[in-house]
Subunit: 442 residues, 2 copies
């Protein structure tokens, strides 16, 4: 990495700040297995000081290489500045437990495979760091691997987008945000950018037409400029580009027309974060704390990474405890009601569940997600259980199956960013578990 | 700042990482008053984005200028990488409340003054951000100012040292750390440094003879090299110095002989942190979490700033909630017992309370602290109440008055680093309150 020019170093060091679920990373050699890449076994950052070859640093970008990434995803606050999504000072509200022993042996057929696989085998196949399953609000299954413990926080990556989209949908349901209005009406600074004439709805559903490539293999891809702008590290002396997420967003140009197709672009979520801040008068972490996290009875503070001006990364910066994201999912499964109170409007959850335009989604080119749609920054399966999910690179998921009354949250650190690599061993596993819980409730 | 060479910029940006209670900062003009410098009124970092002249940044060092510092001390995690001192997942143990209304009007005479002042007036005089008083374990007084709220964390500065010293004293009392042994026996890497032939006791009581100037007015002072080594920011290309706290400590040279006088040097606390990590097999934040914070029933996670290799800054990196530090102080006041359990050995607290060698202390040259001593990184007043305290630059304090059964914790952000500037309006106020509570318990 040391031979790269400063701008690339800067961008690489901040790569995670921009990685999105659509990233097309290619592996040239077979990656280490989950067991061989276990970050606890590899003893990253163990010792005072750790041995030189076991140190993971932010400033050279090594923290985002595989297998170091398997440690980093549970330690982002140690690598970069963050703001809290505070849980408040009250006692956490415990999640009831009713563990089942029939899940590990559950068999399913991975997409495109002929052989079946057990649920337990899928955990390794997906480089799982932590997974929890709620059925009817009770924990029926919970596992932690590597360096993630129940008291730790893990990067949610683009699951962040769905959390932001949920807030956006809630503000719409509350009449505080008009989805038909142009973005520029809420954020005048974006008037001259591609976002200026997009509607809030187009941003929420990512049907904007933007010149923004997230192809990491292309050094000229806009995602690198986005990452450089959002990096908390000092800019090189000759750097003349934007110096914050908000500055970067103003530079995004049109490509194609808004509303003609689904195009998954992280910057839409950043724009939504800006809109939320303008509409509510709070930064997204503060709003999320006050209106969601504190009401959920969360057991841990969550946090968000920030740029050098203190703006949280709404496109991917959330880090949270596994069970707290499960509380969030369970709240949605219960139409926004949880912990004895209506936390978010039922109409917001209805809007997410209904999904978006399938034909627009089909233009996004996701071969493994046929018949799905995208709404309020959630991925809607339209399967027979009506499941919808939040997806983040390297295997992050919130999966809500209304018919089975099931919520799954998974943290992972796969060798490949794109979820296309783990969808085959994930989606059918989650569907099979939904069917099991529906058929055999306990 | 932009005209400074990179090494100075780096050091400035990390200045807080090394600031110590003995710093001799000089004000050339009268600073803004507490009211005029109120960080909430000045609206630092308010807005999405904040106006350019209201943004506080880490990378140019502006965060550590007064009055920006008044905002920064409540937001260090937003400026630099940190590790948690986790409170655990259980319910916090509430502090009982029995508020008194006779404290604000309490009068005392500041050191060297002829006129008296009220307690309430002293809050502004000391640029108080938050202050809580426990009497017999109950909150009798609590105030927050500026941007600090009850749910926030504030930099404890060199109060960190006393927390580390407490752990050190506990390990000694438990027989896990031999105060008579040489430092090099625990940390062989320090054998060739000045610390190599110092005893653990000399480190704990800061009677080492070190070439280490904390004179911030001197650009060649070692404190700048310490700060540069510990900065989490990337090093300049031409930087050839140490790249972490642990690397820096190995470069410290002798000046004078160990054991001949008190010399307040931050690096002693960093060495203690290293010793604690080696003796316990845990980093200091992990040990503090598991053995103290979780047992206290703390209501918030605390955190510590870290260098680029993930080492917590044991000399000054702790940030905590006001009431949680009060729980810590109350535990000490109760001989290490709190929340229904013996958290630290009584012998450790006895050792702190007894104090150190007054004659060695007198050589430190603290005119306002006559007759005091220093033990286990605590400042012991030897006054008639047997009070002892933790002190951090810019006005941080934990003050424990055993006779009055009182604990005071104060967070502040004074214009001047050195506590000599606020001692005159602090020490007599705390003593007067101790006398009031002793005379009129409720």
């Amino acid at each position: 990495m040391k031979t790269l020019p400063p701008i690339r170093r800067l961008a690489l060091a901040a790569a995670c700040l921009a990685l999105a679920a659509g990233a097309h990373a290619a592996e040239t050699t077979a990656p280490l297995s989950a067991a061989a890449s276990d970050p606890a076994a590899l003893q990253w950052m163990v010792g005072a000081p750790p041995p030189a070859d076991k140190i993971i640093r932010f400033d050279d970008g090594s923290y985002f290489n595989f297998p170091q990434l398997r440690w980093s995803v549970s330690h982002f606050r140690q690598l970069m500045p963050t703001v809290a999504v505070a849980r408040g000072l009250k006692a956490p509200v415990p999640l009831p437990r009713a563990l089942r022993n029939d899940i590990d042996s559950l068999r399913f057929t991975p997409l495109g495979a002929k052989e079946t696989m057990t649920w337990e085998q899928s955990l390794g196949a997906n480089y799982t760091d932590g997974i929890v399953v709620l059925h009817r609000g009770r924990i029926v299954y919970e596992r932690y691997f590597g360096v993630l413990k129940e008291g730790g926080q893990h990067g949610a990556m683009s699951v962040t987008k769905s959390v932001m989209g949920t807030i956006g949908a809630a503000l719409v349901a509350e009449g505080k945000l008009d989805p038909g209005k142009k973005v520029a009406e809420y954020v005048p600074e974006l008037a001259k950018s591609a976002f200026g004439d997009a509607t809030v709805r187009q941003v929420l559903d990512m049907t904007t037409g933007l010149q923004f490539s997230e192809d990491y293999a292309d050094p000229k891809a806009e995602v690198w400029q986005h990452a450089a702008a959002g990096s908390p590290l000092p800019k090189p002396k000759d750097y003349t580009g934007p110096r914050s997420y908000f500055e970067y967003l103003q530079t995004v140009r049109h490509e194609g027309r808004h509303g003609e197709g689904f195009g998954y672009r992280t910057v839409n979520s950043d724009v939504l974060g800006w809109i939320i801040a303008r509409v509510t008068g709070q930064s997204v972490n503060e709003y999320l704390s006050e209106h969601v996290w504190q009401k959920l009875g969360a057991e841990q503070d969550a946090y968000m990474t920030v740029d050098s001006t203190g703006t949280p990364f709404a496109g991917g910066g959330l880090n949270a405890g596994l069970r707290d994201l499960a509380r969030f999912g369970e709240m949605l499964r219960n139409d926004g009601r949880y912990n004895g109170q209506q936390i978010l409007p039922k109409a917001a959850v209805d809007d997410i569940r209904r999904g978006g335009d399938k034909q627009l989604f089909a233009k996004g080119g996701y071969d493994l997600l046929k018949g799905w749609s995208y709404r309020d920054m959630w991925w809607v399966t339209h399967n027979e259980h009506g499941a919808y999910m939040a997806r983040g690179v390297y295997g992050q998921r919130i999966y809500i199956d209304p018919k089975a009354e099931m919520v799954i949250v998974r943290f992972a650190s796969t060798p490949t960013a794109a979820n296309a690599a783990n969808d085959p061993t994930t989606t059918p596993a989650f569907e099979a578990l939904g069917k099991l819980l529906l058929a055999k409730p306990q």
